[in-house]
């Protein structure tokens, strides 16, 4: 089996990510309620933006 690159070895934003949640969390802070709820929905939309951008490359 071919060895896959480790996450820390990846260049640029990882697959599925345009703006990492960790970065956005710093901009949001402090979060009054449950951050996981906000994170999950943020990441869904961020992944959609990623898919939209890569759609034009994978054509």
């Amino acid at each position: 089996m071919t060895e896959m690159p480790k996450k820390e070895e990846l260049k640029g934003m990882p697959p599925g990510v345009c703006i990492p949640w960790e970065q956005k969390l710093k901009e949001f802070a402090p979060i009054a309620g449950n951050p996981e709820i906000i994170k999950n929905e943020w990441e869904k939309l961020d992944t959609f933006a990623y898919i939209y951008l890569w759609y034009w490359v994978h054509r």
């Binding site: 071919t2 990846l10 640029g12 898919i51």
Partner: protein, 391 residues
């Protein structure tokens, strides 16, 4: 889903997946990768199916109402022309707009990624796509941040959602109303094709192999996890059906075997193995001739691909890959378009006799079926497989 349709759907799906798992189903599965032929058969112009999402879906429904197949590609057009118009995409021409209304879409190949873009692409490809690639390939983004550019981003994103929704609806209708599963879920490319198709183009990538081979290799390594992710994301997490991998520049003799070993194969192998590690099989749609590379392909994990034969030597494919991967294909498209039904029947019988006896075989055309196919030859293929391909 009505119980009778549900039963038929499960029978067809089982027939298809059993073959992909190297088993022997009750019959040789019929999977047809049909595209523009569906428009002609349903009586629509190509402009209608490229631009009208409802007619695009209606075309496949008409086909499924009339023909008995086990898996179908989906609606004839993978792309919605209006999505491309919304952003002013420069590299596709569609019927009814730039082309006459029954002319197949045309790809305008250019070096949309320049040699000096390699470093920025390697550093952060997602950022490079947004900042450099989209303004270059989309007329509406000529002035980033302008009214036109912002509006085009909104329309483009909305259009992608609308197109994806229509495709999902089409797949649901195929299953619910006609009891037929789609043949694939998810789509991806080989990293070399990602770079050599829409980014650098054939001329650009061939020059790069000599002038900047290290950049090519680095860019393809960057693409590996993105291509894996894209396949899984566009499959919506499904692992029952294979991801569609149309393979372009790896066909012999685009590359010679040394170039293929160095540039094409290592990252393609990583992508396929990465998907298989997550339970996702790949439909290795080997367009053209892949005979010189069969021994290398045999190194992939067992059952991780369905090897689709276009012009690859079928006997060698069976000898080297048989028993390890399901094979599919390879009724010649020229025969389907220009031959007679009797020739198609004879060819299908030969395929079934020589390659299907042990199971692990799916009958299909050699390549995607276009609008020049003859209806009587499609009927001959299906009837022969159903009558003769019984285990």
């Amino acid at each position: 889903m009505a119980s009778e349709k549900e039963k038929v759907f499960q029978e067809r799906l089982s027939r298809y997946t059993t073959a992909m798992d190297l088993g022997k189903p009750d019959k040789v599965p019929i999977r047809l990768q049909v595209s523009e032929f569906l428009a002609k058969y349903a009586g629509f112009t190509l402009q209608e199916i490229y631009y009208d999402l409802d007619k695009n879906n209606a075309a496949v429904n008409k086909f499924l109402a009339d023909f008995d197949v086990d898996a179908v590609f989906g609606a004839p057009s993978l792309w919605w022309a209006s999505l491309h118009d919304a952003v002013g995409a420069k590299y596709l021409k569609f019927a009814g707009r730039q082309l006459e209304e029954n002319r197949q879409f045309q790809y305008v190949e250019e070096e949309y990624m320049l040699p000096e873009d390699y470093d920025a692409f390697i550093e952060d490809p997602t950022k490079w796509i947004l900042n450099t690639y989209l303004p270059r390939i989309h007329e509406e983004f000529a002035e980033p941040g302008s009214y036109r550019a912002n509006l085009a981003l909104i329309k483009g994103a909305a259009a992608l959602v609308m197109a994806n929704g229509a495709m999902q609806q089409a797949a649901a209708t195929c299953a619910k109303e006609y009891g037929v599963p789609t043949s694939i879920s998810g789509i991806l490319k080989a990293p070399f094709d990602t770079l050599g198709d829409t980014l650098r183009g054939l001329k650009g990538i061939m020059m790069d192999l000599r002038k900047r081979p290290d950049k090519v290799l680095a860019a393809m390594e960057v693409l590996v996890p993105h291509n894996i992710f894209y396949a899984l994301a566009t499959a919506g997490g499904d692992t029952v059906l294979p991801a569609f991998l149309p393979l372009h520049r790896g066909s012999y003799p685009f590359l010679n075997p040394k170039q293929w070993d160095s540039f094409y194969w290592p990252t393609l192998k990583k992508v396929i193995e990465g998907l298989w590690a997550q339970g996702k099989r790949t439909l290795f749609y080997a367009e053209g001739n892949w005979t010189p590379y069969l021994e290398k392909i045999a190194e992939l994990p067992e059952k991780s691909i369905v090897f689709h034969v276009d012009q690859t030597d079928m006997a060698k494919a069976k000898e080297i890959l048989g028993g390890r991967f399901c094979l599919s294909g390879n009724v010649p498209n020229t025969m389907i378009s220009y031959g007679k039904p009797e020739e198609v029947r004879d060819y299908c019988k030969k395929l079934i006799d020589e390659y299907a006896a042990d199971g692990g075989f799916i009958i299909d055309a050699a390549g995607v079926i276009q609008s020049d196919a003859k209806t009587e030859n499609i009927i001959a293929l299906i009837e022969t497989a159903r009558e003769y391909g019984v285990y």
